[in-house]
């Protein structure tokens, strides 16, 4: 009884019409957004998949039944069974353990790419959109150059120049990912910069960078976040593609794309070697896409009332 009372108290506090602090007001808005998000079943499924990925990556050494890189040639290419739930690969390594540890690599790549590419895209897009004129022309022609190439081809070129490896794959993917975010942010900025609330802050004497950083960027952020989330699948696939081509993670790292690549040789007789990591990539990509769709429904200003 007391518990339901305190829950009701929290709800009342969050939804208060008279918030006592900026923090309470923000938390109240976040609570309303979460309520709206929760109603979207598919988005919740996506969120669950992503949370699962994060948890698996965080606790990989504790939940994986075997060491991911320990070979046992007597047990090579075992089908899924009691000892090895998802079978073993051509060197007798447990596939489940490798998938679990591969989650770390996938998460590492995705996080780093986002941390590098999203701020660059946001900055380039808002600056180009706000200043217009030749600044816009120069920055947008630059993004056009990057957008003109297919992502995997451009990433391949960069990795070829930088040398194979996860970190170089991350840099290459980040270099190919930011132009899309710059486009999104610029489009948002163009509609915002003529608005009265930006004019109001201009006649309060705010400088251009204060306006861009404090007033325009927070409003561009939702569309960029949605775009980034929907792009995650593409990033994972590009990373897997680079791994598959031997230009991403290097053996014996349990990267999912590289695992598919080695499993390719046994695809007809030992299907699990290539299929299991493929399924993992598929599920995580699906999770990010569902989450991104849900976020778009939630954050899209055209669908949001008042």
């Amino acid at each position: 009884m007391s518990e339901t009372l305190s829950t009701a108290g929290w709800r009342a506090w969050l939804l208060s019409e008279r918030p006592q602090s900026a923090l309470q007001a923000r938390l109240g808005q976040a609570w309303l957004s979460w309520n709206a998000f929760q109603r979207n079943r598919l988005a919740m499924l996506g969120l669950a998949l992503i949370l699962l990925l994060v948890l698996v990556a965080a606790f990989a050494p504790w939940i994986s039944p075997y060491e991911p890189n320990v070979q046992n040639l007597r047990l090579r290419l075992q089908p899924p069974g009691a000892a090895h739930w998802l079978g073993t690969d051509e060197l007798g390594r447990d596939i489940l353990s490798r998938i679990i540890h591969g989650a770390r690599i996938t998460l590492y790549i995705v996080t780093l790419v986002v941390v590098i590419a999203a701020p660059i895209g946001l900055l380039v897009g808002t600056v180009a959109g706000y200043f217009g004129g030749w600044v816009d022309a120069v920055l947008m022609r630059l993004t056009d150059i990057f957008l003109a190439f297919p992502r995997l081809i451009l990433a391949l070129a960069f990795v070829a120049a930088l040398g194979p490896g996860i970190d170089n794959a991350v840099i290459a993917i980040a270099i190919t990912a930011w132009p899309a975010y710059a486009r999104v942010a610029r489009a948002e900025t163009l509609t915002l910069r003529r608005s009265d609330f930006i004019a109001a802050v201009r006649i309060q004497g705010a400088g251009a960078f204060r306006i861009i950083g404090r007033h325009i960027m927070p409003l561009c952020l939702p569309s960029v976040i949605v775009r980034v989330t929907l792009d995650m699948a593409g990033i994972i696939l590009t990373a897997a593609g680079l791994g598959f081509l031997g230009l991403g993670a290097q053996p014996p790292a349990p990267e999912w794309g590289a695992m598919i690549s080695t499993g390719r040789a046994y695809l007809l007789d030992q299907w699990w070697v290539a299929t299991i990591p493929g399924l993992a990539i598929c599920l995580v990509s699906l999770g990010f896409n569902l989450l991104g769709d849900g976020l778009r429904d939630l954050l899209d200003p055209k669908r949001r009332g008042g």
Partner: protein, 260 residues
């Protein structure tokens, strides 16, 4: 005339575009507004009245002519201090408040820009001055009504304690019942703070309520200046002004002559 001129506009011209496509939005406009006076600019849309306001508050930086504000010439590229002298209230209170800022953040922002301290107290006082409950402080704009939002916009304009307030159709986006409240609030604030108003409107009733002198603009030019008494009597010198008055005469006569 004992009061000194607060705004002097002399032969102001603004044109948009280049060469043959160039449009003269404002063409040789001259007028003076005295300290503590409330001056109205009326005209149909496209007559250039809003452009005059945008020049005066530094948003429109391409113009020719001579403009003096509070005794100092209007700079072509205003520095930060300039905005302590003049502020503006926009037409649409739904578009002039940042949607992600609480009222507190919106009102604190000008103080932060100018490095002014005691923000809590100043925000509190500004909300009280415009008749808003301090409980509104941490609400977002979408939780307020149109009239409440316009009060916030007025509070934001006044928080820097400017001497001149530019009003761009401050009531035209509001319900009729709320319009009178906002006009009375503006009249009270002018008395209390000794503000100078320059009000732009297409609504002669609003102008007659708030202003003592009126300039009529048409096609970028100032057609006529007249006092509010002339306006009420309908004794205008030009046909255009007479047409304007005739078009909304019912409202002006119905409006009781309130001393503002």
């Amino acid at each position: 005339m004992t009061a000194s001129p607060m705004i002097v506009v002399d032969d102001l011209a603004v044109h948009f575009g280049e060469g043959r496509d160039s449009v003269r939005a404002v063409d040789g406009v001259s007028f003076q507004v005295h300290e503590g006076e409330s001056y109205g600019l009326v005209g149909e849309s496209g007559s250039g009245k809003s452009t005059v306001l945008r020049v005066l508050c530094g948003l429109q930086q391409q113009w020719q002519g001579r403009v003096t504000l509070a005794g100092a010439p209007l700079p072509k590229r205003p520095r930060r201090d300039f905005f302590l002298r003049v502020q503006m209230v926009f037409q649409d209170p739904y578009g002039s408040l940042h949607p992600r800022f609480t009222i507190d953040a919106t009102l604190s922002e000008p103080l932060a820009i100018h490095g002014i301290g005691e923000r809590r107290e100043r925000v509190h006082r500004a909300l009280e001055a415009v008749g808003l409950d301090p409980a509104f402080r941490f609400r977002f704009p979408h939780q307020l009504s149109g009239g409440q939002r316009q009060r916030v916009a007025i509070a934001r304009a006044l928080i820097l304690e400017p001497r001149v307030l530019l009003l761009d159709e401050p009531t035209s986006a509001l319900d009729v019942s709320v319009q009178a409240e906002i006009l009375n609030l503006l009249a009270r604030l002018r008395r209390e703070h000794g503000l100078t108003y320059l009000l732009v409107s297409h609504d002669l009733a609003v102008v007659a309520h708030l202003c003592s002198r009126i300039a009529v603009m048409q096609g970028g030019q100032l057609v006529e200046q007249l006092s509010v008494e002339d306006l009420r009597r309908g004794s205008a010198a030009t046909d255009y002004t007479r047409d304007l008055i005739a078009a909304s005469s019912g409202e002006i006569i119905a409006q009781p002559a309130q001393s503002t």
